[in-house]
Assembly symmetry: C2
Homo-oligomer: 316 residues x 2
């Protein structure tokens, strides 16, 4: 897989890039296992020119969580009232689901902060969209993605570009994708987390949407069961396109007898009859794009490539 | 755990017991792995006096499924039009979810057949209830439970009693349960399957319900995430009682730091404030009751015991 970020830097960037004050790192899900991860993350982000500040409870631990529910809610509230304009989650895991009713979503939207996270953070992204329509980001996490000596360079670049409005087009090899050329609101994230919001007030209604999905450690039959639920709930019929990211970390068994992700994708296409785009660089893998959830974007495929038009700058 | 089925046999039984014509075994989910399982099942059921017939595709195989979608739908349709009044699923696994829109639920309800199954079969039980209000049964499966030389005697007895209307009260040790004495419509089954229906037309609305749940191979954080979804979807607040069956087959990790099923149950009680009954003999374990989904029953606890009043015979 080759991923290019086709950006217009230089003059355009200086015209359109935000001037970020910095990044504030919070822990809203599972506990960070190793403090050194956040030290590495700070170092890599500072090397790109960002100011970085850790929330006081970024390393808190309560059971498997990064602090009690009250601690993590307080961290989110502090994130709204500090000066840095990007709020980056330290990691996923589990923990946001049970906080959703206690987060002041209007205050999150009004803060104007750019919240970024992964996996469990899908609950935050989608609840914010459902409750306010505000944009937030699916992307890397501080500890999981940047918390090593050598993080994935492209993941770091894509994060930086997305946070400074410089990522205009995300292109990726997408052999086997359906023909599509459309626009719509981008949304999605982790499939299991997305489905865990169905039926609740935190599941966004996105007609004419562009839905992207990824997951880890779920057997294809469980991935199909989630997709089946989205289909039967009427969600997939409302989409302009379905973009599949990376589905990893599962094990096929002898009794699957050839049933695999290809069989799931075949079933999806036969059943839903919406354009399916494959191989989005997003998932529980080192290379992941930073994607604006709730933003209207374009998506097109041509010659085994797919293009997401993230920023449309009107150059005069 | 000690499970008693306090039944009134003899005169009452002869007054009220149905006279079943027999049992028809179908495969609607995953493929039966070993034909000998269905031979054993037939033998055990015939020893109790039942006529038993295997559906012609009970041993069909397509990928991981017990036949193609069309084959399994045809098996369900054949089950409606054969003379035996009990239709017993061979096993769970995965496969019913994607059939739900293609099953003629009205015809299932009008057939008057008693459908019984487990795990994946929760999709059938709940879709039938949602679409028609008709009763069906959560219970053992032919291959999984009866497909061995020595099946669990009590599971077999409870199945037989439920199918002949002789199971009046199911009592079980339920230490640590909340005080409760109420009536409501019994529903539930496998937690993951139940949540996989949320947002779809196959999720029943059961106000004042009595919800029972079990699961296997799901870490407590995932069980909590499912319960959290049911809470935030407003489902749990509508229940008169929540009955937890057996949650088995998961592995705690060092980083859980004490977070376990007890922590989940504590969170559930603090959050939902509904009576919680523990230790229902139902789940992915040898001993499982056969329970009428969609039927109004009573539930009470006293002195560390719980009682489900399944049949209320009015003895004059």
């Amino acid at each position: 897989m080759k991923t290019e970020s086709i950006t217009q830097k230089g003059e355009q960037a200086s015209c359109h890039a935000a001037t970020p004050e910095g990044i504030y790192i919070i822990s809203s899900s599972s506990a960070v296992e190793d403090a050194s991860q956040l030290h590495w993350a700070q170092q890599h982000l500072r090397a790109l020119g960002w100011q970085v500040q850790l929330d006081g409870d970024a390393l808190a631990v309560h059971q498997r969580f990064a602090g009690s529910d009250a601690q993590r809610l307080a961290a989110i509230e502090r994130a709204l009232n500090q000066p840095h304009d990007v709020v980056l989650s330290s990691r996923g895991g589990y923990g946001l689901s049970r906080l959703l009713p206690f987060i002041d979503w209007k205050a999150v939207a009004q803060s104007g902060k750019r919240f970024v996270g992964h996996s469990d953070f899908t609950a935050f992204n989608l609840a914010l969209l459902a409750q306010t329509g505000a944009i937030s980001y699916a992307g890397p996490c501080a500890a999981f993605d940047f918390g090593v000596e050598q993080p994935d360079d492209l993941t770091l670049d894509l994060f930086h570009e997305a946070m400074t409005n410089q990522l205009e087009v995300l292109s990726f090899e997408a052999e086997g994708s359906d023909a599509v050329d459309t626009r719509g609101v981008l949304w999605g994230g982790n499939l299991a987390m997305l489905c865990s919001l169905l039926g609740t007030p935190y599941f966004p209604q996105v007609p004419y949407g562009i839905l992207f999905l990824e997951d880890v450690g779920e057997h294809p039959y469980r991935i199909e069961r989630y997709l089946n639920q989205l289909w039967q709930a009427g969600v997939l019929a409302q989409q302009q396109a379905i973009i599949l990211g990376q589905f990893t970390g599962y094990h096929l068994a002898e009794h699957d007898r050839g049933y695999d992700m290809q069989a799931v994708i075949q079933w999806l296409r036969q059943t839903v009859k919406k354009p399916v785009v494959l191989n989005l660089p997003y998932g529980h893998v080192p290379l992941k794009a930073t994607l604006p959830i709730g933003k209207k974007i374009g998506v097109a495929t041509e010659d085994d490539m797919a293009y997401l038009l993230i920023e449309e700058h009107h150059h005069e």
